[in-house]
Each structure stands twice: as structure tokens, then as C-alpha cells.
Symmetry: C2
Subunit: 518 residues, 2 copies
């Protein structure tokens, strides 16, 4: 492999053969640098971000005790230093898990012909595995286990190939934790951050108690509008706001929660340009990135065939902010929650070395690292069993599964919702369908009902009719400005096909009664 | 069981039979109240702590989306509300683990005759288990899985039986995370907290970047001195300090890190009294609580036999702050790290309802909950396989194992360290041995070497001689006042018997050369 070749699935074996061996011991100090291809280092380095680090982030020092670890390399040294328990006192001798054998991805096929992978104490010593159960059960470093860090680093390079040299990954206890950490690294009490006008309510609720305010940005069916971002930033009045100009954007670029909107590649470029213009740092929260679906071809339209190859699949994905991040101004929060399992509480962050180093310092004195039990199960699945090829096969399978679910829900809407008052665009990614309801046609308006009372009436009527949908107002970043429009969010992630059809029928009936439609 | 009976191991079955059934579904809302015995409610309620909650803690609201969960109880309701993925898309069909079968606790016995416990998708529906793998792999509540919460609640009641009614447990991502969360709940930038003069350096390093300062308290061989705490608080000069009087104490009461000191029951009572006098809230960080050892009877003395029963074992434990906490002014951080596995990153906090509710609100937008994969493995081990009786057997086994290790290390010190300059007290709990070195006898002093330079010389001489011990100065809470004494910390947790003996010999040789002893 030459320096100029970006990493592909096919290139992983050669890269691993040439690269630094995975350290097998307890809590080794590692970074993505051990696992990136030479191609990465042909690129320029990221900009520096000293000017946006919080006082808290700037104050963090390298752990005193971790600093002593450097002596452990001395041959023959006996350590009575660190308080690591002896593995003989971990009462778990072995962990096994049963995984799907590609292409048999369904639970039925897995029960029939799944593969059982086993991790035991002593596996590394015995040459059975690079990741020893003894190591997984002990303390680790904040970057996560090198065995899993290698996989996510390679995956990140294969999918995103960031256009600067010094990017790093840090495994973490899930993207919710990652966002909380990012806020602590990048903001001070009183600051404003930029967010989509409808956003994931938990993301807003993480920021607000820290004294961080939200500056909402307008959206269209492709999500965040670069013009709105430029306008807010260009006209920021520090005196009137009592706060410096925002320098952090939080965005869910793909299958946005709650709107289901997906920013096109062009849209992202335009937003990145505005971020450069105003020197804004971007946090892209991307749990739904691999829930990009096949094009919607109507309720009865044929579903286009799945991507024919891994390359075609990767090319079909909308480029991430990370992939266009020439400045190193993007922190990408990656998640296994929507495509593997949320219960693992394992995610990872990707960003420039400076920010990831501070991120890691924060993890050291907080979560420490994601659960080793979860890490070794994911390693067994993703690295030892599937490998990158199998994981991409799984992600293509997920694409088709979610395409099918989306089609069922949108088809049910076409069949059962009153189009006199309900409008929608079929989502291109994610798990959410965003239904606009024309509240100005509601008969209650004439008798003096407010918009909010009408939303509550419709929500309660749906509950009465046996269906729970989420109210759009739950997701507004700005709770002070009255909403012009009215939305309801329905997810196609969880319910069965029959249930989805029935649920939408119930919602449609509730709307008809509410709006006095026949 | 009548209201006046405190919970015992033998009473758990009856309590479970009478109590609320464990909810089997995804992410149910639960609390310890579902699992506590009626005896708890015969006690008065905790005091209120509004006056010590941070602005951040006070600002936290209940999650908007979690608020909608109440509608899910409606029979027949179909939810298109929450974004929970469908379990058919979790590519883990089954997880098994091999655990020791009591009393065969060693790795060898476990390999031979261990018990394999298996969690599968559909276990709850099929009546195989209360904790379904589907549930563990999905999102959960911040309190943790009710299945494991029940176990730790019962365990807490059996061991500590808190003397107030409204105590609660909240599972969390480990005690390091728990302490970080406590700081965010209880302190503001500029505050001082009380800490032992030698303390776990990571605990200090968690506080400092938050702008929280440390007020060190004097210690003796029983750890923290109540007189020092009273003196610091009574003489606190807000103007001179530029900070309000401290109202949070962080203490490691048992097998303290780094000193190995254990506060006696009397000592704890005296400290609790000072806390009441000055209205101080106590965070007791207790990872070593169950590493209380048999009395030290000299290098060749006979080890007293293990406790003959669970009752005798429980009675042998020094009462925790939680067990004497009539006010509800204690947050106890509980850990599996030293007695089961640190890699699980699962711990729990115990405190009064008001504080635990705020704790939980913080977790919701940060770690969310400990890894479900780790939780279900711990549940299989602790609840389904061992039960409380088996877990106590394990803890008694750990007590004997650590007693043996402590005896080896202290015996090696007696054999190999020059008592002209090295002094110690055999630790009664934990994993650390604290060795005082009489630096004033060091020949370097005459040639103008500073105390710190002498410490560095001894440390480096030990490294050169092939042994790593920790420097006492790494653990000082106050880095500005010069240390009067000099200590080195050696752990008996990790190395083998042979290695411990050899390592202490090397340290002794290094001391002899350093001090010019024959």
C-alpha cells in the first residue's frame, strides 16, 4: 500500500500486517495513530482550538497515576504501584455470545445457524485472541480498548477518510455522554450554542442546566438552513444577548430527530462554509447515519435493489461533515445504538487530536472508559466474527430493513391520514416521520382555542384512540417564541407492520374527528 | 415478616414474594422503593438538602420524552412515540458466562466445575428469566435495570440498613463517574471541599478542573481526624479564603487510598457528629469496604479462621456512614471494581431520595445508564446464580484472599525493609500498604538536598532496582504546603506471592543504599 491510497475494506489486512501490533496487556496507552494508514499523514494538520476550550477543559491535567505508567516498560520491573486487582479475583471465567452469520441476519436464522464466539481468561497468552477476557474485566484507558479502537479507527477511515492528518477516535460511554462531555469541553455558563429549531430534546436538556442557551436555526425539508445560520451569526448583538457570538453548532445531519430531515451533500458544504466564515466548531451527532434508506418510490413502487457492493454502498452515503473537514473543526459523535445495540453504552467520538485529547482527559475522571464487558462483546462481533466486510453487510441489511419500515409507515399515512390537513415528506434516513398538521383549519380556532391547546387536543384525541405520537412542541429549541406550524413525530423503528398500519389509521381517525372531516 | 424486622439474607425470598414484581419490559421506571422491606418505612425521613444543591442540579428537569412514558400504561395503546429500536435488529441472540460455583471460587475450580448461565432474547416472555436479553440490549432508565437494582437495594439494606426511610439506590457507570456526578450536584466553582490530607489523586483531579478547591484534613493511623475537621470548619474565614465554609466531605473510610487507614466505628461516629455540627454532607467512597481483612497476627502468626456465618461476617464489618446516617446526609458510592470486576463499569450510589433523584436526572443526559451488557452479566452472576448468600460467600473468600496477600506483603516488609528508616502499620482493609520513610536520616540532607529531591531519589533508586512503588506526594490534597513526612505506597493487590517478596526486597535494598545502611 502506498501513501496515496485511502484505506478500503480490502486494504485492512495489509495495513494490520504492517502496522503496530495491538498491545495485549492491561490498560495500555494507545491512540488511533497506531491504526491509521500512512495515507492519513500525507494531509495537513488540523487548526488549533485553544480559543474555544472551556476553563474546565483547559484546567485538566494528565492523571498523576497514569503518568507513572511509563516506568512499566522497564524489563523485569515489578509493579507495586497501581491498584489494579488481580484477574484471579474476577469471578467471570468466560463470556460467549451468539451472533448472526452473514448473510443470515434475522433472529430466526441466528438461532438456527448463528456463530458462538467465546472470550476466556488467558486468551491472549494462549494465542486465541488479541483481546483477553482478563484485560476486558480490568481497568482500561479512557480511549477504550485498543482492540476495539483499532476497528472503529479503520471503520472511520474507510467511511469518512477525514481530510486532515491528526484525527483521533476515543471510545466513550455512548453519544449522550459524548455530547455532555463536548459541552463541558467547549462552553461556559452564559454561552449560546447553535441548534436546529426542532432538535432532540435530550440534547437541549443536557445543555440548559449548564447555563448554556440555545440559538435556534431555521430548517426546511433538508434540515438546517445555512442562510439562517449566517444570518444569526452575522447579526449577533453581544450587548443585547448578553453573550458572546456562538461558536458551537450542534447538528443531527442525517435523519434528524425529530424532523427526519437529511442534509444533502451540497447543504452540508454550504453549512461548513458558514462555519468557516464565522469560525464555528461543529458537533455532528450522527446515530442515524447508517439508517440512510433507499429512495422512496411510492406506497406501491418497487424498492430499488440494495447496493451491489461495499464500494457502491459507501458511495451511496451522503458525505459526513467529518469527510469534508479540512480545518479539523468537527467533532463527530458516533453511535452503535441504532445499528447494533443501545444497551452496550459504547460509542466513539472522532475529532482533531487537540480536542480528543481533552475529551479523553475528561473521561478519565468520569466514566473512565466504556464497559469492558460490552467492549469485548462488540469486539468479538465486529472484529473477530464479522470483520469490516461483515459489518458493512449488516449495515446494508439495516438499510433495507429500515427502508421497508419507512415504506410501511409512509404507505399507511397515504392510505389513512386526511390529506386535507396532514402533510409530510417521506424521510430519507433515520427512524422518524414528521407530519405537519394544518392547525389553522381546526374548528376550535373559531371558538378561541390557542394553537397550543389545539396541539394538546389532537395529542389527547390520538391517545384516546389508542396511539401515541410525539408532539412537535416537545422538540423546539426555543420555548419562548410561539410556533407557527404544528407537527407530530411518528417513529417506524419499533412497532410491527400490522401495528404501524393500525396506529396510523387510529391517528388518521383522531385527526378526522378533531377537524370535523368525514 | 413484620414491619420491625430488618432484612436478612434469609428474609429476601419472603420479601420478594410479597413485593412488587420486577417489571419485565423495556426501560421501565423503577426505584428502590419497589424492593425495600416494610421495616424501612418505620423510620423518619431524611432532611432536605436544597441549600447545598448546585445551580446546575437545581436547573435539571425531568426529561420531556420520559414524561410521555406514562401513557404507555394505557391498555392496547400502540406507541409510535419513543425512538427505541426493535430488538430484531440487535445482532446478539444470546450471551453466556461461566461463573464460580460456590465454594469453588478459584479460577481452576471454575474452569473445572463453573456454572454457565445464559441470557437469550425472549427469556422473559418464555418465563426463563426476569431479565430478558432484549431488554438489556435496549435503552434503559438512569436508575439501571430493575433486576439488578433490586439486588443492590436488598444488599444495601442487609449490610447497612440505613436509619431513615427514604433512601434510594441508583446504578451508575462506576464510582469515578459517581464522584464526578456528586461534584456537579453539590459544588460551584470557587467552593472548597474537605478531603483527607492524603487522598486518591484521581478524586482530587476530578474536582480541581471544576474550580473546586481542596481543604485537607489531618489524619492518623485511623485516617481522618474529627478534631482537624472541626478545627478547619470552626475557624473557616470566608473573607480570607474567598469562599464559603465547606459543606461537603469526601472520605474513603475503609482501606483508604493511599494510606490504607481504616476509620474505626468510634472514629466514624465522631466524624459524623462534626458533620452534623457544621451541617456537612458526606460522600463516602467505599470501593474497599469488603476488603476488610482478618486481624494481622504477625508474619508467622496464625490467620484467624474466616467468619463462621453470614451474620458473623456482616457483624465483623465496621459500620458504614450510611448505617449511622440519621439525617440522610451521606451519599455512599458503591463499587464492584475491587470485589467483582472493574471492567464492568457498574457501580451504584445510595443516598436520600432528594439527592438520588437529582443524581438520576444528571445520568439521564450523560451516561444514561450502565451498560446493559454488563448489567445482565452481573445479574446472572449475583442474582440468578449466587444470590445474596453466594455473594456473601464470595466476599468472605475475598476477605481471606486479601488477608493472605496483606500478610505476605507485611511479612516481606518485616523481613527486608530497614526498620532504621522505614515504618508502617499493617493495614486492616483495602489493597494498600503505606510505608513511612524517615527522610531526615537521608545523607543527602547534609549536602543540601530538599525533601522532595530525596523522595525523587528514593523513587528512582527503587525503579533502578526493578520495583515501582507510588510516591506519597502524588496523593497530597494540598500541593502548596510542604510535606513534613515522606511515604511510599505499595499495593498487594496485583503481584504474585513470589513477586511481592522479591519486590519488597528490591525496595529494601534501594533504601539501604540510599540511606547508606549496611
Amino acid at each position: 500500500m502506498t501513501d496515496s491510497t485511502p484505506l478500503s475494506v480490502a486494504g485492512v489486512a495489509a495495513l494490520r500486517a504492517q502496522g503496530t501490533p495491538v498491545p495485549l496487556g492491561v490498560a495500555p496507552s494507545t491512540s488511533s495513530d497506531m491504526f491509521k494508514s500512512a495515507h492519513c499523514y500525507t494531509k495537513p494538520k488540523a487548526k488549533r482550538w485553544d480559543h474555544i476550550l472551556s476553563l474546565e477543559a483547559k484546567s485538566r491535567k494528565v492523571s498523576t497515576l497514569k503518568g507513572a505508567a511509563k516506568y512499566l516498560k522497564n524489563p523485569g520491573l515489578i509493579s507495586l504501584g497501581g491498584g489494579l486487582p488481580s484477574p484471579e479475583y474476577f469471578p467471570i471465567e468466560q463470556i460467549s455470545a451468539k451472533f448472526p452469520t452473514p448473510p443470515g441476519f434475522s433472529p430466526e436464522e441466528t438461532r438456527e445457524s448463528g456463530t458462538v464466539m467465546t472470550a476466556s481468561k488467558g486468551d491472549a497468552k494462549n494465542g486465541n485472541s488479541l483481546y483477553d477476557l482478563e484485560v476486558a474485566l480490568n481497568y482500561g484507558q479512557a480511549t477504550g480498548a485498543p482492540q476495539l479502537l483499532r476497528f472503529v479507527t479503520e471503520h472511520t477511515e474507510i467511511i469518512h477518510n477525514p481530510p486532515y492528518a491528526d484525527w483521533q477516535c476515543c471510545l466513550n460511554a455512548g453519544s449522550t455522554y459524548g455530547w455532555d462531555t463536548a459541552l463541558r469541553l467547549l462552553t461556559e455558563r452564559g454561552d449560546y450554542i447553535l441548534m436546529e429549531e426542532y432538535t432532540f430534546s435530550s440534547a437541549a436538556e443536557t445543555a440548559l442546566p449548564l447555563g448554556v442557551n440555545l440559538a435556534p436555526l431555521k430548517m426546511d425539508e433538508q434540515g438546517l438552513l445555512p442562510e439562517s445560520m449566517d444570518e444569526v451569526l452575522s447579526n449577533w448583538d453581544e450587548a443585547a444577548r448578553g453573550a458572546r457570538k456562538p461558536y458551537v453548532l450542534y447538528t443531527i445531519a442525517t435523519g434528524q430527530n425529530p424532523t427526519g430531515a437529511t442534509q444533502s451533500g451540497e447543504r452540508r458544504k454550504a453549512i461548513y462554509k458558514v462555519a468557516q466564515k464565522h469560525d464555528v466548531y461543529i458537533v455532528e451527532d450522527e446515530p442515524y447515519y447508517f439508517l440512510q434508506m433507499q429512495p422512496y418510490t411510492g406506497a406501491d413502487g418497487p424498492t430499488p435493489p440494495p447496493p451491489a457492493s461495499h464500494d457502491e454502498f459507501i458511495k451511496s452515503l451522503i458525505p459526513s461533515y467529518l469527510s469534508m473537514d479540512v480545518d479539523g473543526r468537527v467533532l463527530r459523535l458516533e453511535s452503535f445504538s441504532k445499528v447494533v445495540t443501545p444497551g452496550s453504552r459504547v460509542g466513539w467520538a472522532v475529532g482533531c487530536e487537540q480536542i480528543i485529547e481533552r475529551f479523553q482527559r475528561n473521561c478519565e475522571v468520569s466514566s473512565q472508559h466504556p464497559s469492558g464487558i460490552a467492549q469485548i462483546v462488540l469486539f468479538k462481533l465486529l472484529d473477530e466474527h464479522w470483520g469490516h466486510a461483515g459489518y458493512l453487510d449488516w449495515l446494508i441489511n439495516m438499510r433495507m430493513q429500515y427502508t421497508n419500515r419507512r415504506n410501511m409507515l409512509v404507505g399507511a399515512c397515504e392510505k389513512s391520514l386526511p390529506t386535507e390537513v396532514a402533510h409530510w415528506v417521506a424521510p430519507a434516513a433515520g427512524m422518524f416521520h414528521w407530519i405537519e398538521v394544518d392547525w389553522k383549519k381546526h374548528p376550535g380556532l373559531a371558538s378561541g382555542k390557542t394553537r397550543d391547546a389545539i396541539e394538546e387536543d389532537i395529542f389527547q384525541a390520538a391517545i384516546q384512540n389508542g396511539v401515541l405520537v410525539s408532539r412537535g412542541s416537545w422538540f423546539t429549541a426555543d420555548k419562548t417564541t410561539p410556533e407557527e406550524k404544528m407537527f407530530f413525530r411518528a417513529t417506524f423503528a419499533a412497532a410491527s407492520a400490522d401495528q404501524i398500519e393500525e396506529a396510523i389509521k387510529r391517528f388518521g381517525d383522531a385527526l378526522r374527528v378533531q377537524f370535523g372531516l368525514s
